[in-house]
């Protein structure tokens, strides 16, 4: 008995894996950690239309993306030097604490708990928790109407739980891994309302596939002050604040709002004052 053929098999699988590694080795080179580098790494959402979205062209669009690009430019980085990284809700603090990203603009609300772990520049947008309902649904006019309705949100998010605890105790709660599943349910009439920040909801409602199908409730269930997260004690905070102030002053902020939320008839709040968190 020889090991010959076994060796051939093992070699084959090794070659297979080596080629795979060969293809993959190009995306693990840079480890930018501070703003002094040429490159800058920014955490955004990849799956929130209007806020932060990876488009089929491999580009990124959304309000967060526009703000982050502007800020990066003020910090001395061309748009081409920006490396976008997905910052999922659960990962955001960890990404900053480990220095995986330089800053995060990913529908990141400033809260006291989060401020214990990271620092926030901004806020740069005042959003509200709201609901998205079917355009032909007349039964939900005020937050209390959500009682006995079917509410949807994503796993681990607090927004739906808030509604159930405080406003509509008889509402039923469905949690999914992502908003898309909720929207499918909304379309299928299994879900009555999808709840999260109005900025995100507006982004979904403005998508061409959904034109005229959904509307925002306009309830303002909470205040969400979107800030730009940086590492605790980072001197980036002040630089970013300066950049944000400039962005509002030269009109780029309004342009970005109009570009991203305009199509959804989303009535945005005026640009927030830096350092003023609305509770």
């Amino acid at each position: 008995m020889k090991l010959h053929k076994v060796t051939v098999a093992a070699a084959a699988s090794l070659v297979l894996s080596l080629t795979a590694v060969g293809c993959g080795s190009d995306d693990s080179d840079n480890t930018s950690s501070s703003s002094g580098d040429e490159k800058i790494t920014i955490g955004i959402k990849f799956d929130q239309p209007g806020v932060g979205l990876k488009t089929p062209d491999g580009k990124y669009t959304g309000f967060d993306v526009d703000v982050a690009t502007y800020v990066a430019k003020e910090l001395g980085h061309d748009p081409g030097d920006i490396e976008w990284k997905e910052a999922k809700s659960a990962d955001r603090e960890t990404l900053l604490q480990r220095g995986d990203v330089d800053f995060i603009a990913a529908s990141y609300s400033i809260t006291p708990e989060r401020e214990k772990k990271v620092d926030f520049a901004g806020p740069y947008l005042l959003a509200h928790q709201d609901v998205l309902i079917r355009a032909d649904d007349d039964t939900i006019k005020k937050p209390e109407d959500l009682n006995n309705k079917k509410l949807c949100s994503v796993t681990g998010s607090t927004s739906a739980q808030n509604v159930k605890d405080k406003i509509a105790p008889k509402a039923q709660l469905q949690e999914y891994g992502g908003y898309s599943e909720c929207l499918t349910g909304l379309e299928n009439k299994v879900i009555d309302a999808l709840t999260t920040d109005d900025s995100i909801l507006a982004g979904y409602a403005a998508q061409p596939e959904f034109k005229g199908k959904f509307k925002l409730g306009g309830f303002k269930l909470s205040n969400e002050n979107y800030g730009i997260g940086v590492q605790k004690g980072s001197d980036l905070k002040d630089q970013i604040n300066t950049a944000l102030q400039k962005m509002v002053k030269d009109g780029s902020w309004d342009a970005a709002v109009e570009k991203n939320f305009g199509p959804a008839n989303y009535k945005n709040e005026p640009a927030p004052k830096i350092g003023v968190v609305v509770n």
Binding site: A12, G24, T31, T55, D57
Partner: protein, 312 residues
């Protein structure tokens, strides 16, 4: 598969009629089910061309989301396979060692990693890498996913290897020892080569598990594998979740089908022109052999340096 012809008589005229009838009933029931599913999908507008179009007419859906995801899935899976296979072989052989401490510690490690969900192993690895190493954040999820997969699957593969070696007739190792081979020679020249063919089906189904389990890394570690590509994709194409998940499921089935087909081709080549014992470790027969008991006592690989010339 001898059982198939053995379990029932060759159908006579009545049985043939009955089989035809059963087939018809079955086809009708299946067709009704499929029709109901399609009808309901259409009712809920899930079959709209808008939802499916991106996958057929828009190559960007593939280039931007699916193919990069597939690439990451393949990288993670093949790395995990390449590391887990030899590691599992070593651990499996260690479990057959005649030193009790090697046997015992290998057994402990294997049992431990088999008992914990892979997802938790991955999370743990991710935290440990960021804490104690300076692996770049971009490739850390990949490292964590591969580590979790390797730890779990190497311990399962170890059991397969052990069962495969134990499934060989005892005479093989006896004969090898009788002609004066050392323990390592017995393992290398006699037992391993023969047991590989016996183990292949079980190994292959474990490799399929590796491919599927890469998807666990997408949920919590931010590893952008194939399944995770559904999220940005369905956000772009109007929440076409059913279409997106279906396409991803089909890709997984094709991928795993290719893997199993390749393996059965390989198995055929290994078997051809080679005398084997004909023993096969079924995909699930592993644990039966692995439960301590008669099979372990049959293990005389570790019978010290004793060359038992007495066996036939």
């Amino acid at each position: 598969m001898s059982s198939q012809s053995v379990l029932y008589d060759v159908p006579g005229p009545r049985a043939k009629r009955r089989n035809v009838l059963l087939t018809v009933v079955f086809v009708v029931a299946l067709a009704a089910l499929i029709w109901w599913v399609l009808q309901s999908l259409a009712d809920k507008n899930q079959l709209e061309w808008v939802k499916w179009r991106p996958f057929f007419t828009d190559s960007r859906a593939w280039y931007t989301y699916l193919l990069p995801g597939l690439k990451n899935t393949l990288i993670a899976a093949s790395l995990a396979m390449a590391i887990a296979l030899p590691l599992g072989a070593v651990a499996g052989i260690a479990r057959l060692s005649d030193h009790w401490w090697v046997r015992g510690s290998a057994g402990l490690v294997v049992e431990f990693f088999r008992a914990i969900p892979v997802l938790i192993l991955m999370l743990f690895a991710n935290a440990a890498y960021s804490e104690f190493t300076d692996i770049s954040p971009d490739s850390r999820p990949l490292y964590a996913v591969v580590t979790g997969l390797v730890l779990y699957n190497a311990s399962v593969l170890a059991e397969i290897v052990r069962a495969g070696i134990l499934s060989l007739p005892r005479g093989q190792s006896d004969a090898a020892k009788a002609i004066g081979m050392r323990k390592s020679q017995v393992m290398r020249h006699v037992l391993l080569p023969q047991s590989v063919t016996a183990m292949l089906p079980a190994i292959v189904s474990q490799l399929v598990v590796i491919v599927k389990d890469t998807a666990l890394g997408g949920a919590l570690l931010g590893f952008s594998e194939l399944l995770a590509s559904v999220r940005p994709m369905s956000a772009n194409y109007g929440a076409n979740t059913i279409a997106s998940f279906t396409v991803v499921a089909v890709v997984f089935v094709v991928l795993n089908f290719a893997l199993t087909s390749f393996a059965s081709w390989l198995e055929g080549r290994l078997r051809r022109g080679k005398r084997t014992t004909g023993a096969v470790v079924g995909a699930d027969a592993v644990d039966e052999l692995a439960t301590p008991g008669e099979h372990v006592s049959r293990d005389d690989l570790g019978g010290g340096g004793r060359t038992s010339a007495s066996s036939e």
